[in-house]
Structure formats: C-alpha cells, structure tokens
Symmetry: C2
Subunit: 269 residues, 2 copies
C-alpha cells in the first residue's frame, strides 16, 4: 500500500468531535480545533455537522450514543437549546443559560459549559492583564455579552457596568450576574469611558464593513484597556481609535484562541 | 492567523462520510476513502462511527437527516441490517441481501448497493482478465462469497461452481444466483481445479497466520487465474502455490482498491 492510497490524519482509531449549527459552512472550528488536537498529539478530528432546526431533537440525543464521539461544539442557533443534552451543566452555563461545548466525561455523563466568556478571560490572562479589582464597562448584553459578563464577574472586578441598546436586556443581565456574584458591583447603565479601567465590546457594532463605534466618543483615556470581541476585522474601528489614543488593546482573535484552548482542555480532560 | 492555528483538510464546507461498524478501530476505510476523495479533488472526509448493536436502530435513521452527511459505509456486523435504511436497493444488494454503501442521491432518496463483488470484478477488469465465457470455481459462500458470486454471474461466465464447507450454504447461494442469472450455469459442488479457468477464494482459509489452502491440491494448472479475497497476508498460501505453478494471480488488495474506486464513484455520482 503506497502513501498515495492513504491519508495520515484519520483512521478507525480517530476520536470524532463535531460542531453542530445552522448554517454550517462559515464555521472555523473544524480546522482550528483539529489543529489544536494535533498540537497536543491527540488522534482526534472535529467535523461540521449541519443540523436543521426541525431535526435537532431527533438527531442529537441518539447521536450522543455513538461510542467514539468525544464531544460537540454548539453554535448559532443551538447554544441555548443544547442545554437539554447535558447531564451536568457548568457554573457559567447555569448563569448564562447556554452552552457551546458538550463532552462525555469519564463516568459516561455528558457535561457542558459555555466558553465564550472564558475565552475573553483567557486572552487577558495570556497578556497578564488582570480583571481583579478593576472597573469594567461592557458594551452588549446578547449571547457573547452574557457569557463575557459572567466570566468577568467570576474574576472579581471592582465593578461591572453593562450597556445595551436594549436597556431591558442590560438590566436583566446585570441582575442575573449580580445574583451569581453578590460580591461584585454589577449595574446596568450608560456607555462611558470615564472612571473605568477596562472597556469590553461584545456588541456587533464595528463588524465587517461597519465603520461605527459601539459608543459615542472622539477619544479614549490613555490608560484604558480596550477589548473587542469581533474577529473580523481584526482591527475594528474601536480598536483603531484605542491604538491611536495609546490604549492597550486586546483583539477578538486572541479571545478565539483562548477559547479554543480552554475548550480543548475541557474536551481532553 | 498562522498556519499552525489551522489544518487544511477539514472545514465547515467539508462533506462528511462515515463508516459504521462494531468494532471500529481496525477499519481502513477512513484513510483510504479520504485519500481517494482528495485524489479526485473533492472536499470530503470519511470518519469512523462506532455504533453498538443495541443502538443501531436509534442512531442510524435520524443520522441520515444530517444535511452535510454524504453517505455511509457499513461493515461488520451491519451489512444485512443496514438494508432497511435504503429507499432504493441496488441490483446486487437485492440478490445478496446486504449493502455496504448508502448514499443520498440528487432527489434526496437514500440508495444502497454492495460493492464487495464489484471490487473483485473491477480488479479483474483493471488487469484485463475477462470473466465472460470463462469457467469459474468459487470457494466460500459467506458474505464476501455471496457478493462475489452475484457480481461474477453478472459478467456472464460460461459456468460458476460454488463450494462451501457448509454444503447447504453453497446450494442456497447457487440457487439464488441462478434465479437472478438464468443464462449462467450456476451450481454448488466440490472444490476442483480441473476444467476451470478461474479460481476464486472467498473463504477465510489462509488468512493471517493460517498456513492452510482452501482446497486440497498439491499443484495448480499453469493456465489458471487464481484470485484470493484475503488482504492480509498479501501473498496467501494459495497465491504462493499459484505463483509457484506459473498461474496468473490477483490479490485481495487489488479487489480492495477496485472496491474503493467503485464506491467513491457511487458516493460522488
């Protein structure tokens, strides 16, 4: 058998992971998780699994009985819906009410967690920028914002203020996070850059061709740390302004790398 | 994003195929089919799917609703059981009563065929050795033997004689093939090397460390074509004897290559 007859990256012994979403073609998890498995010397692969919303309940529960399925990643529109598949729900997933990773643990039970926020925290940890005792302003209380709020609150900042164009959504998230972290001053309020140390954008403003800023400012304080969860473009209008003002910046891509690393830890534990 | 962050062989656009079996670790289809997809420039991968017998009916029918699933290969112990998944059963699968490939056709229906025998015929075709008008002796009337008998009969040999240590099994297969091919002289009978042109071994005798021959002979006629379906070892005791007697030999590995090629034609049609 010549090399030409075989590839070297999949065999009968390969552990299979999947990303479940609708649509699926745009996801980047297959190439990125599989690369991380390889870097760690594990014979595993993550493949796309395109499941229509009307098929989710029929396909997913039985699929978990496939013996060599190591775990699943969930993306739009299934992060909340996938909670029902977990027998053990992680601390952050319980507060957020959504998961993006499901893994079969050693005892055979399926455990789940959401890593969107943990990826942001991991990106800051890798840059040695602490959240503890800092005053944090978060823009956006949607799916990503919720997960980031919960993960950041877990780091015991001095305060966490949440803004959303939908004020009710910001208030609801602040109340939920405050209940889980009574030791942190969590509030909903206006978007501001004064009397804060870290500015986090988890809103979609600035994505792709969008030239807008997620808050109305002309300049930013030099000492501010500015993070944007947006991955494309790497340099959002907000990060461009922050760089121009001499701020420290953290990119969405760093969060994505941090998240993949934490999720692979979870998958291979 | 550096190359190190990604692999190049799987993405959100990759079409997924699977091999379903129990056990699964020993299968070679993942590396071989995936290599064949690549040779043909297709973005597709075949992964192992380990399904326990008690889970087959729960997992398989819903799995077929996964939108980017291109098709499935079935191996031990599911070749007969998988027939229920097909809405259109191929000509050979109907006679054999088993399938090893299931594909979603353009009209959305799942069609199935068995390629074990077609792989043998393809191996002979590649070597330009015809079955038509030849006298064929087949040893073994099990799963592989049944598929080979049906595929070879389809090539209109002058005669096809089937031997099995279980005489009833040989008789039943001969009757089944004769019904499907009334124009071919199909019989069950003793293993012989006289008055035949082609000798096919589809019994397990000679596999791995087994030093036996599948029929009791000391020598073989020089003009005989001798085929062994066994893949390991490449040179079975039967093929070694045939080579020593100056016969033309065809290896199991050639059948495997022929089969994969025909199955990928079926998957990508």
């Amino acid at each position: 058998m010549t090399n030409r007859d075989e590839v070297d990256y999949v065999s009968g012994r390969t552990r299979v992971f999947g990303i479940v979403g609708h649509p699926i073609e745009q996801v980047r998890s297959p190439e990125m998780f599989t690369a991380e498995f390889r870097r760690r010397g594990r014979d595993a692969i993550l493949v796309p699994m395109h499941v229509l919303p009307g098929d989710f309940d029929a396909i997913l529960p039985p699929l978990l009985r496939m013996q060599n399925l190591g775990g699943l990643v969930f993306t739009i529109p299934y992060k909340a819906r996938a909670c029902v598949l977990a027998q053990v729900l992680g601390e952050q997933a319980q507060v957020v009410g959504a998961i993006n990773a499901l893994v079969k643990s050693a005892d055979g039970r399926w455990q789940a967690e959401i890593f969107d926020g943990l990826g942001c925290v991991e990106a800051f940890r890798r840059r040695a920028i602490p959240f503890a005792a800092q005053r944090v302003m978060l823009l956006g209380a949607g799916g990503a914002g919720s997960a980031i709020a919960v993960a950041v609150a877990h780091q015991r900042p001095a305060s966490l203020c949440i803004f959303d164009v939908d004020a009710g959504r910001a208030t609801a998230l602040a109340a939920k996070v405050a209940r889980a972290h009574p030791d942190v001053a969590v509030t909903a309020g206006a978007a501001t850059t004064t009397e804060i140390d870290i500015l986090l954008n988890a809103s979609p403003v600035g994505m792709l061709g969008d030239a807008r800023l997620p808050l109305q400012v002309d300049t930013l304080p030099r000492g501010l740390v500015v993070f944007d969860a947006i991955v494309k473009p790497e340099r959002t209008p907000l990060l461009a302004l922050a760089e121009g003002c001499g701020c420290t910046t953290v990119q969405g891509r760093e969060m994505m790398r941090g998240q993949i690393s934490r999720m692979v830890d979870f998958f291979l534990a």
